[in-house]
């Protein structure tokens, strides 16, 4: 178990900056998920920590050691790859035990440890099989066993669940979490799936275009997104974002079509006059029974089973609501929305950063 810290870490491929001055401190034993769309630099960041990519700039520490120039094997990290990267010519037991073999451990010790890891992952009966003869989920377990057996200081997961089908993904997710509780090893998990991030993480790091947008617990990220980008990326559906104009004197905000909505000046002290981005969660707005509130024009709906998503337009910008089944809705109808003051969020129109 070891802490990992990155200071001003950058990676350039030719003229492209893929990772741009990233600072990140991960405590020992923490489970941190790096979340972002493809191409945001999250995998490159992970590979730099593993030693599979050289850093262009900055410093990476694992424990008390600066590892920038250390080879992958000297860093004490173990990695689970997206396509598992199992050794196709070796049996499951040989796959799991390869690191120990390279380290020169006597055969008897190796077998004992392979057995115990296999037991933990439910791979006991597959030890003599080749990876080809295993299902996707089993291969995934072998890949994890191969990482676990070394008792590494840090686990690195590079989108390990993205090749599994939906059901298996949920099951493996729970298993990874359970293993982490049991072993307590510092873990970094890269994914583009926000549900994976929310369910697994102690803390989430949201990345965009090579930079960190926000670091926080899943709850913080969901409730208080630090930027409009994070807000739209997290949650399903993402935060509704609308362009508005603030008038602090009157205590209201003005929408594109001239509608006005009052806000609480005591909560929103830092708001200044001018254009801002206004946001609210689909599940926090209600249809106002008294007909007072923001007017929305519905277009169509999506059934989710437990609830319903209704798509519509507020001041000609798209917005989504999540409503219960007992609430009535019909297409092309106009209704009023009530949004609690506490659920209103504001972001700078220029920088996209949160205004609190």
């Amino acid at each position: 178990m070891a802490a990992v810290s990155l200071s001003a870490v950058s990676k350039k491929f030719g003229p492209n900056t893929v990772v741009d001055k990233v600072d990140l401190a991960i405590e020992a034993g923490e489970f941190v998920v790096i979340l972002g769309p493809s191409g945001c630099g999250k995998s490159t960041l992970l590979r730099m920590i593993a030693g599979l990519e050289a850093t262009s700039d900055g410093e990476i520490q694992i424990g008390d050691v600066v590892v920038n120039d250390l080879e992958p094997r000297a860093r004490g990290c173990a990695m689970v790859f997206q396509n598992y990267a199992l050794y196709p010519h070796m049996t499951v037991a040989e796959n799991i035990g390869y690191a120990l073999k390279v380290a020169g451990l006597p055969k008897a010790d190796r077998i004992a440890r392979i057995q115990s890891v296999a037991q933990m992952l439910g791979l006991g009966e597959f030890l003599d099989r080749k990876p080809m003869q295993l299902s996707g989920g089993q291969r995934q377990r072998v890949a994890m066993g191969r990482a676990m057996i070394r008792e590494p200081k840090v686990f690195l997961y590079d989108e390990p669940l993205s090749n599994l089908d939906a059901r298996l993904r949920v099951a493996m997710r729970a298993e990874i979490r359970r293993l982490h509780q049991r072993l307590g090893t510092t873990s970094l998990f890269v994914t583009h799936d926000q549900v994976e991030a929310m369910t697994l993480a102690d803390r989430i790091v949201v990345m965009n275009q090579g930079r960190i947008e926000q670091i926080g617990t899943p709850d913080e990220i969901y409730r208080r997104p630090a930027s409009a980008y994070v807000a739209s990326f997290i949650g399903s559906p993402g935060l509704n974002l609308l362009r508005v104009n603030v008038s602090t004197n009157d205590g209201h905000i003005k929408f594109g079509d001239g509608q006005l909505l009052a806000y609480d000046r005591k909560i929103w002290k830092n708001l200044q006059d001018g254009p801002v981005t206004f946001g609210f969660r689909a599940e926090e707005a209600r249809l106002a029974s008294d007909g007072r509130g923001l007017s929305i024009r519905f277009s169509f709906s999506e059934e989710l089973g437990s609830s319903r998503l209704i798509y519509g337009a507020v001041a000609d910008e798209e917005a989504v609501l999540m409503i219960d089944h007992d609430e009535k809705f019909s297409a092309d109808e106009t209704a009023a929305l009530s949004i609690p003051n506490s659920a209103m969020q504001f972001f700078s129109a220029e920088t996209g950063r949160r205004i609190s």
């Binding site: 599979l52 990519e53 050289a54 120039d69 250390l70 080879e71 992958p72």
Partner: protein
């Protein structure tokens, strides 16, 4: 990957450099040889510095080896084999993959078996066939008694003859008669999704349209690869052209076969000094076309080589 292996890297570069030298040195010695005079080249020492008689030697080799004609022959043969093979492979594979007819699997295996036995091992009878390409058919007619019937009915003694020796057809056809490219195309056609044919058929395309407007444009990269490989294969041929072109004064032969005539031996020099310089100049000229082709088509070449052999 971060790897601190300075010693190993140096070793790797040493290996790579030795390899490159092993490739370069023979080529360099040929080049140097082609730039010296007869007297210089026969001084018994290692010649590493080029002289300045390259163009004399080149033109001497060109002259003596009739390389103008010979290269034309080589070019026509290679183009013929490459084009023929590409076309033949495409239509055969198309017929095998996209149609169901009785005996299809038998035909598949009959073609497949040809991969096992190269021309060299059946060279003598192939020569006999080339001397009269209609011999097989004459024999069949004789054996089945049909030629006897014709003779008794019309009084004509059937004697089919089509001599392919000393002709481009004779050089080209036997080299096309193997399955190399057919399998490349078959593999490729099998990877084309079924939906493409279904969609094309719904749009009203028949077999010819489907082949010419869908499959051939899709297989352009394969075609380039196969063409390159087959061109080189044909250009490299030695034993077949050697036998199939006995008339050296008339039809001539290919440049590659001619090379041997450039080599100095007792009968050509008449006991005189061996003129290696001219031989090396000829060597350079004949080497060049395939080297250029590979240099320009390296990507296709490597890909085609691996695809046709596996």
């Amino acid at each position: 990957m971060i790897e601190r292996t300075p010693l190993l890297n140096v070793t790797t570069y040493i290996v790579l450099c030795i390899g490159a030298l092993m490739v370069f040195i023979p080529l360099w010695l040929v080049f140097v040889g082609a730039t010296l005079t007869v007297r210089e080249i026969n001084i018994p020492e290692l010649h590493l510095i080029p002289g300045n008689h390259l163009f004399e030697n080149l033109s001497a080799a060109w002259e003596r080896g009739h390389l103008g004609e010979r290269l034309t022959n080589s070019l026509i043969m290679s183009l013929g084999v490459a084009t023929g093979k590409v076309a033949m492979s495409a239509i055969t594979a198309f017929g095998l993959v996209y149609f169901r007819f009785p005996g299809r699997m038998l035909i598949f295996w009959l073609i497949f078996i040809t991969l096992m036995l190269p021309l060299e091992v059946r060279i003598v009878p192939t020569y006999a066939v080339a001397a009269n390409a209609l011999w097989p058919f004459q024999s069949i007619l004789d054996a089945t008694g049909i030629s006897g019937i014709i003779a008794s009915l019309t009084g004509i003694q059937l004697a089919l003859e089509w001599n392919l020796l000393n002709s481009y057809t004779g050089l080209i056809l036997p080299l096309i008669a193997t399955a190399t490219g057919t399998f490349l195309y078959r593999q490729f056609f099998l990877t084309v999704p079924d939906e493409l044919l279904e969609a094309a058929r719904m749009d009203g395309a028949g077999p010819f349209r489907f082949l010419t407007e869908f499959l051939i444009p899709l297989s352009r990269a394969n075609m380039a690869a196969l063409f390159t490989i087959m061109f080189l294969y044909a250009w490299n041929q030695y034993l077949w052209p050697l036998l199939a072109t006995p008339d050296r004064a008339g039809f001539g032969t290919t440049a590659v076969v001619e090379l041997k005539m450039l080599a100095p031996n007792v009968s050509t020099t008449g006991g005189g000094t061996p003129d290696w310089n001219v031989a090396m100049a000829g060597c350079l000229i004949v080497m060049l076309p395939p080297l250029l082709l590979v240099a320009f088509m390296q990507r296709y070449f490597v890909r085609g080589l691996i695809a046709t052999e596996k």
